[in-house]
Amino acid sequence: MKDKQVKKLAMTVLAWLVAGAVFFPIFWMLLTAFKSEIDAVSVPPKLFFAPTLENYVAVSQRADYFKFAWNSVAISLGSTILGLLLAIPAAYAMSFFPSPRTKDTLLWMLSTKMMPAVGVLVPIYILFRDSGLLDTRSGLIILYTLSNLPIVVWMLYSFFKELPKEILEAARMDGAGPFEQMLLLIMPLSAPGIASTALLSIILCWNEAFWSLNLSAAKAAPLTAYIASFSSPEGLFWAKLSAASTLAVVPILIFGWLTQKQLVRGLTFGAVK
């Protein structure tokens, strides 16, 4: 019994050292966000200082911050809703009415995810330029929806597969058509699964930083691009960078924490449960 206690204590120390080290950059960012610009760059670095909210005030007073934040919200939500609208019927059909082609369809969808974005950068740029989609929210919504659709379908498919088939059978006896089954039965029953799928989609859209950096500028740029603008070498605005980063990261971090268990399915295409 004593031995077990000692082992548990040792494990606690070791695990917390690792967890602390991995989390440290985020902790340091959170801390720096409450420093004045002078404290933020001071040598030696200050662990104790007079905390200030001036960075948050400064960041929020730059009216364009809210424009970038709104772009992030609108693009993530827009793409997630569009993705669910496309994916729910497909996942429903494939999990409840599988045909001999279903497996091939699923694998083919997965294979479209393998196309490296940079491989099609040129055509997408030219298509966007010619159709006026450059630097628009709709353009990014379309791209994000397409690139996340395979993950969304797979994740929903794995949740729908878990519902007992008999329920559907009973509903069909009562004369419910496919859309009634989907709306009144499947969606309420797998609401937690749909919610985690939506959260994963939001996380992926929010953090996407290839298309947003290349295809958006002043008008439609989301927070990823706004943060990138802090990379200019003139002046050290570390406290403001940290405050802006904190605002951009914290909501998504919470989403990630809430759904970590279910995310594994989506991120590994059901290969790890």
Binding site: L9, M11, A15, V22, P25, I26, M29, T32, V41, S42, V43, L86, P89, A90, A93, M94, F96, F97, P98, K103, T105, L107, W108, M109, L110, S111, K113, M114, M115, P116, V118, G119, V120, L121, P123, I126, L146, L149, V153, W206, A209, F210, N214, T224, I227, S231, L236, W238, S242, A248, V249, I252, L253, G256, V264, L267, T268, F269, G270, A271
Partner: protein
């Protein structure tokens, strides 16, 4: 997929419901998404076409490929890509496995510690790159410089002297937590009975690791390697906001090289030829990933 000539039908059996209108929209948009840009990339890669002088667009056959494949910068960039992907994969697998085992142990505050260790995966790439570059790795005001110099070790100017290593550290910081999350989930599915039985038989922790845990993790590790490869091949933001591919071309990867050709030099033909090479590379990995997932779908 061609490797499986006969696909056994999944259980259930479809009847009485027309599934085409349900599956059709998703398949349709993905089909367009796959074919149109790919065909355009292939077509552009055969043209001499620069957006700065679009009037001079002519068909040039394989000239872009010839130029690219005789250009040493392509191979330098592919070398950097290989180092970046390779190093991050090794770190992910080794640390991911160790962390997964560690965080599977019984200890105080397990739940919260797990949240801490997976957190970096949810931080957007531009934020992690700039936090590391400035707050931590800055040669004058950064925290690391303070720590190393107060230990009398001098100061390392990471992004100037070891730029690729610095980027590897930043990218690994984002992806080791991903590996940890996946492998931790996988370890938890290891049956308690099997572990208990091995312990009863007097298995030492090390042989437990080699003969029980590692074999169980083999497939999840393969999945982690393949998925990370797909994402790591296109690492972009971390390079753009820290080194912009420099100093010189020290951190120019294949993805960054294509970006430079496309949106800095506006060389549509050259960038497309590079894009085709990237697609071929990614598809080699993808082939194996799809096969692993397919095997999993059967069981």
């Amino acid at each position: 997929m061609a490797s499986q000539a006969v696909t056994p039908p999944l259980a259930g059996g479809g009847r009485a419901v027309r599934t085409l209108p349900l599956v059709g929209p998703s398949v349709g948009v993905l089909l367009v998404w796959m074919i149109v840009p790919l065909a355009m990339t292939l077509w552009f890669s055969l043209q001499r076409y620069n957006l700065l002088s679009p009037a001079e667009k002519v068909f040039s056959g394989l000239e872009n490929y010839k130029f690219l494949l005789t250009d040493p910068s392509l191979f330098t960039a592919m070398g950097h890509t290989l180092q970046l992907v390779g190093a991050v994969l090794v770190l992910s697998v080794v640390l991911g496995t160790l962390f997964a085992i560690l965080f599977d142990q019984d200890f105080y505050g397990q739940g919260v510690a797990r949240l801490f260790v997976i957190a970096p995966f949810f931080v957007m790439p531009t934020v992690s790159a700039l936090i590391w570059k400035n707050l931590l790795m800055h040669p004058e005001n950064g925290l690391f410089a303070f720590i190393t110099s107060s230990l009398g070790l001098g100061v390392i100017d990471w992004f100037t002297n070891y730029p690729l290593t610095a980027i590897i550290i930043v990218v690994a910081w984002q992806w080791v937590p991903f590996a940890t999350l996946i492998l931790l989930t996988a370890i938890q599915s290891l049956s308690g009975e099997q572990v208990e039985a091995a312990r009863m038989d007097g298995a030492k922790p090390l042989s437990m690791f080699w003969f029980i845990i590692l074999p169980h993790l083999l497939r999840p590790i393969t999945v982690v390697v393949m998925i990370e490869t797909i994402f790591l091949l296109t690492v972009f933001a971390e390079i753009l906001v820290t080194t912009s591919g420099g100093p010189g071309d020290a951190t120019t990867t294949l993805t960054y090289l294509i970006y430079l050709r496309a949106l800095v030099e506006w060389d549509v033909g050259g960038a497309s030829a590079g894009g085709v090479i990237a697609i071929v590379l990614a598809n080699i990995v993808a082939f194996f990933l799809v096969r692993t997932v397919a095997r999993n779908l059967d069981t």
